[in-house]
């Protein structure tokens, strides 16, 4: 069983690069960096083949006993089932492609070895996260990916604002992690173990549906998930995280790490199912986030920030799916999203690189001819994101969520309407982005023409985001459910409410129509009448500003938490407690002065002192008697 090799290889790669990175040639660094993940991907493939061919339910491997204290005995051990297999597949493959892309993208950077070291470390942590068989190890991976995210966002460390963005990302996610940690404490208190499988097995026996403890624990786990996956109310860090290099945005902030929250909830669905209210909250958070982020994406001009908000929005869809117990739909969308969003980020990275680190879409344009491969792949990614019907992977995955948000057993019309609105906005901003970047006149000179290292991963990802959709086709349309069947042992399938089966095709039609009309709106605004958007912007300037700033969350948190904290620590820099001790010193010195005054050196004073002492003594005697 080579399960441990999957996370270990990137770790070894990272270790080599950290220790000897400065002494290796760039070529060697590239080989070690990508090679380790590539090998990992191969082993994943091999393991996956074995897993499917033996039709096992899970593989298990224990490396060593991590701790063993008073019944708390997490081990460093890995658990592979269908859910984690999907995740490690995405992580290793998309990860490998992004590594390959980076070998060219980062070629001129001084921190070449450092970059790959971090990236490898990230892959290792992410794999640990999804393979962990207990929550303690999961937490290790969870924090590990947070660390790598921090390191990679702040990769270009000489810029002050990158460091700020990196810290913000780490701290905000850590707020969520705190909730997660407390959730783990409660889990341990209730089950005396942190083994995920055991907890999942025991939870339904211990708690009835709607149990308060289950509710609290679910919410705490949700807190962790919300932080990591940049959902409301902890979504503010992700747009800033775009300060990192584009491959990082693609890998960490689109494809893998930010979906860790989705993984966590899916992994602990047994607990969430016991807390329907918590599940409802998951759905509400998802729905609210997807709309909020969508509106914000509409107003951004920075190419990567648009993608960032779109990521938040798409993860919102996944949360919505989780909220209606459409587990496999969420995971399906995760996978497809990983493909097309990685593709979009990488393509955007190539564009930005070609335009000398220009992020502003309004300064781009006309790249269709200059960068044809980039254009076509971007178009495929964008179509998938906008869920253009039939030909894109995104259509199938998003459609499933739309359908289940209405028809699933926990679905309702409001979820559906929000999701639909989100879909409409998605296709508007997606094509706005496409039109602004690739159509119109060339505004900035194209410098770097991407080579094979960049284009080949793009092409592969474009392929994946197209054909990826076909492994799960809706009931009304082929009814091909390889993916959900595969996940079924882990994630129960969702049952559809009575009376909805018949209207599934209608929903699909509506979805398709909404997506296409979004494209049309974008076409009107940005190709046909480019002035229109400007007018709109000026006529609703306040609203635009509000959306542009992400609905004011940043300034709200700044006022609520950051400013007070900094203020309190700044005024107390000198440590107010010390005043007390200074006071003691002052009092001592005060007494010293007073008593010193009596030591006047004059003989008669001293005699007086004795006499007064004597009088006091004798008076005392009298009083006492």
């Amino acid at each position: 069983m080579k399960l441990w090799l999957i996370p270990a290889l990137p770790l070894i790669g990272s270790f080599i690069l950290i220790v000897a990175g400065s002494r290796l040639s760039k070529r060697m660094v590239a080989i070690v960096g990508s090679g380790s993940v590539g090998l990992s991907a191969l082993i994943t493939l091999f393991t996956g083949y074995k897993f499917i061919s033996t039709s096992a339910t899970s593989f298990h491997y224990q490396a060593w006993q991590w701790m063993d204290v008073a019944g708390f005995s997490p081990a460093v051990s890995f658990h592979l089932d269908a859910l984690s297999l999907v995740f490690i597949f995405v992580i290793t493959f998309v990860g490998f492609l992004i590594h390959v892309y980076s070998t060219e993208f980062m070629a001129d950077d001084d921190g070449y070895a450092r970059f790959f070291a971090y990236l490898n470390l990230f892959v290792c942590s992410m794999l640990t996260l999804v393979l962990a068989d207990n929550f303690a190890l999961l937490y290790l991976g969870w924090e590990g990916v947070g660390l790598c995210s921090y390191l990679l966002i702040g990769f270009w460390y000489t810029e002050e604002k990158n460091g700020y963005a990196a810290r913000k990302a780490f701290i905000v996610t850590r707020v969520g992690d705190t909730a997660l940690a407390i959730g783990l404490f409660m889990l341990f208190q209730n089950f005396h173990t942190l083994n995920i499988q055991q907890i999942a097995a025991q939870a339904p026996q211990q708690w009835a549906v709607g149990s308060e403890t289950a509710m609290v624990i679910s919410l705490l786990l949700l807190g962790g998930a919300v932080g990591k996956s940049a959902q409301l109310p902890l979504q503010t860090w992700l747009p800033d995280a775009m300060a990192g290099p584009s491959p990082v945005s693609a890998l960490i902030h689109a494809a893998t790490m930010v979906t860790a929250g989705v993984y966590l909830i899916a992994r602990t669905h047994a607990i969430f199912e016991l807390a329907p209210d918590a599940l409802m909250i998951v759905g509400i958070i998802g729905a609210a986030t997807l709309v909020l982020a969508g509106f914000t994406a509409l107003t951004q001009f920075d190419l990567k920030r648009v993608l960032a908000y779109s990521t938040i929005s798409q993860i919102g869809y996944m949360f919505l799916a989780l909220g209606v117990s459409a587990w496999s739909a969420a995971i399906f969308h995760f996978m497809i999203h990983a493909f097309f969003k990685a593709l979009l980020f990488l393509a955007a990275g190539a564009v930005i690189m070609a335009l000398h680190h220009e992020h502003d879409m309004y300064k781009m344009g006309g790249l269709k001819k200059k960068l044809p491969i980039i254009y076509w792949t971007f178009l495929i990614g964008a179509s998938s994101l906008a869920a253009l019907p039939l030909v894109t992977g995104g259509f199938y995955s998003k459609d499933q969520i739309l359908w289940l948000s209405l028809a699933g057993e926990h679905g309702n019309i409001w979820f559906f309407l929000f999701a639909l609105l989100g879909a409409f906005i998605t296709s508007i901003y997606t094509f706005r982005m496409l039109f602004l970047t690739f159509f119109g006149n060339e505004k900035t000179h194209v410098g770097h023409i991407p080579g094979n290292g960049i284009t080949i991963p793009l092409l592969i990802l474009a392929g994946l985001s197209t054909i990826g959709g076909f492994i799960e086709l809706p009931h009304s349309f082929g009814h091909f459910t390889v993916f959900s069947n595969f996940l079924n042992p882990v994630l129960p399938s969702v049952s559809v409410q009575e009376g909805f089966e018949s209207i599934e095709w209608m929903i699909q039609l509506i979805a398709a129509g909404v997506a296409l009309s979004g494209v049309y709106v974008a076409y009107i605004f940005y190709i046909v009448k480019p002035g229109l958007s400007e007018e709109l912007k000026t006529s609703a300037a306040d609203l635009h500003k509000f959306w542009f700033n992400g609905w004011g969350f940043d300034s709200l948190y700044d006022k609520l938490f950051v400013k007070p904290f900094v203020f309190i620590s700044d005024i107390n820099k000198k440590d107010i407690v010390d005043l007390f001790y200074d006071g003691l010193v002052w009092i001592s010195n005060f007494f010293n002065r007073i008593f010193s005054y009596t030591q006047s050196g004059i003989l008669r004073w001293y005699i007086m002192g004795i006499v007064i002492g004597g009088i006091l003594l004798l008076t005392l005697g009298l009083i006492k008697n």
């Binding site: 850590r174 940690a181 208190q189 904290f565 440590d575 010390d578």
Partner: protein, 501 residues
């Protein structure tokens, strides 16, 4: 005998180092290094022989008459906890010598004399089982430490040294009163006047007397630990001491307070301690948050790290008074890992000071560019300080919080929030020192070979503790579970007695 050797080697080594420095200062450096390595090897040897203590709690014991007329004996003993602490002492001691190799150029012999004597005092505190002797060693370590701060410290050293000395001495005297109170109570009840730890255990006394006596012990330990609001000596002492001084202060001296809590307060006054627990935990949490908030505001690198110590030590008292095995294991881990990680941060601050002659982080920045090795090391210990899993501190904090959750949930939530604050101040170190644009007008060379020799073992240790903490935990397992079991037995007994009455 080996326990006596621990102390004797250090004391004699110190004297020899002082004497030889008249002829050759290099020699005195080597002498102290060798003395510490000898001790470290001895301690490792014991550990390898008894990696897990199964049958008896006490690995080695030594006892001799000292002042029989007062019931004082020279009684030393080593159990798992002591062994770990002693190991840590010698381990960090070696680095304290190494880090001062170039830094200390004046009065080298006297420096090493003080260094070794402070370590001897600390070692004594960790292995003595006689309360008089304990107090004796407790005080013995103060004077050399005072000199380490007061002679080789930075610009404000005299003030810092005073403050350190007076705080610890004042609280120590309160402990002395309690020791004596216990001594006489035990003597009156049993007729044998003795300071022997084992005999004083389970002394029967009225509840309010126990409460007062415990407060006396507590005073000494919470000042040393330190617990807010008795912490203000620490930032001054830490920031003003020389690097080796800071290393010893943060790495070892604070641990004597934690050790005292575990070794004396809980076993001697189980009931009174249990009554106090919620308050102690509250103060622990206050310490965690208050220390973090102050750490965030500091611009003096060593002062910043000093306040992180306040915050981290909050976890210790928090965990100790959670009264369960999980938290206690966490506390023991915290003692060790904090010793290593904070010690390393101080060493780092020292190496930076050697290069740019300032501790102000406002005049640092971008050092990664010039000194990536230093940056990597810095990153690792900053991460350790914020409790990243995979490094030792995480194990410590996680176990502490996990255990504390069983005891007090509200306070645990606040303590966990402290981890977020830890992230804020830790990353600030990283940002201000290593990231950003290189802005110093000084040359910042990367770590030298000697500095690497110091740092690499520390890194290995902290990673090892993070991934394989069980080897350490096994060493104290017996001791900790024995402590909680006996307490249960005692409470059961008293219940039975009450019942029968």
């Amino acid at each position: 005998m080996i326990l006596v050797a621990f102390i004797a080697v250090l004391m004699i080594g110190g004297v020899i180092a002082w004497i030889t420095s008249q002829w050759n200062s290099i020699l005195s450096r080597w002498i102290s290094l060798i003395a510490l390595i000898v001790n470290f090897v001895l301690a490792i040897f014991i550990w390898i022989q008894k990696p897990t203590i199964e049958s008896s709690n006490w690995i080695v014991q030594f006892s001799a008459q000292w002042i029989p007329s007062l019931g004082v004996s020279f009684s030393l003993a080593l159990d798992g906890l002591s062994l770990l602490m002693v190991l840590l002492t010698f381990f960090l001691g070696i680095f304290a010598v190494l880090i001062s190799w170039n830094e200390i150029q004046e009065r080298v012999g006297f420096f090493h004399f003080n260094l070794l004597w402070v370590l001897a005092g600390i070692t004594g505190v960790f292995i003595t089982m006689d309360l008089f002797l304990f107090y004796f060693f407790w005080e013995v370590m103060l004077i050399p430490m005072y000199f380490l701060i007061g002679i080789w410290g930075h610009e404000n050293r005299r003030y810092a040294a005073y403050k350190f000395f007076i705080f610890t001495q004042a609280s120590g005297l309160l402990m002395l009163l309690s020791i004596l109170g216990l001594y006489f109570i035990h003597g009156r009840v049993t007729g044998t006047f003795t300071f022997d730890y084992f005999q004083l255990l389970n002394t029967e006394m009225p509840a309010d007397v126990a409460r007062w006596l415990m407060l006396g012990f507590l005073a000494a330990f919470i000042v040393k630990l330190p617990v807010v609001p008795f912490h203000t000596w620490l930032p001054d002492a830490h920031s003003q001491a020389s690097t080796a001084g800071s290393l010893i202060l943060a790495g070892l001296l604070l641990k004597t307070g934690a050790y005292g809590l575990i070794r004396f307060v809980l076993p001697l006054f189980p009931t009174a301690a249990a009554e106090l627990a919620p308050w102690a935990m509250l103060f622990g949490v206050i310490g965690i948050l208050y220390g973090a908030s102050l750490a965030f505001a500091q611009t003096d690198l060593k002062r910043l790290v000093a306040y992180t110590s306040v915050s981290h030590m909050g976890f210790v008292i928090f965990g100790v008074f959670a009264f369960n095995e999980l938290a206690m294991q966490g506390v023991v881990m915290q003692m060790i890992t904090h010793g290593i990680s904070t010690g390393a941060l101080f060493v780092l601050a020292g190496t930076i000071y050697e290069r740019i002659h300032t501790r102000e982080i406002t005049s640092m920045g971008g050092f990664w560019n010039k000194a990536p090795f230093m940056g990597t090391i810095g990153l690792i210990f900053v991460l350790a300080s914020l409790g990243l899993p995979g490094l030792g501190n995480f194990v410590a904090e996680f176990l502490t919080l996990l255990g504390a959750w069983q005891a007090n949930q509200v306070l645990t939530i606040f303590a966990t929030i402290g981890v977020v604050a830890a992230t804020a101040y830790s990353l600030r170190i990283m940002q201000k020192v290593f990231l950003g644009n290189f802005s110093s007008d000084k040359i910042v060379p990367d770590l030298s070979l000697r500095e690497k020799i110091i740092m690499v073992p520390l890194v290995i240790a902290i990673v090892w503790l993070g991934l394989f903490p069980q080897s350490v935990m096994n060493t104290v397992k017996q001791m900790i579970s024995a402590q909680f079991n006996t307490e249960q037995i005692i409470s059961n007994d008293t219940e039975n007695e009450n019942g029968s009455k």
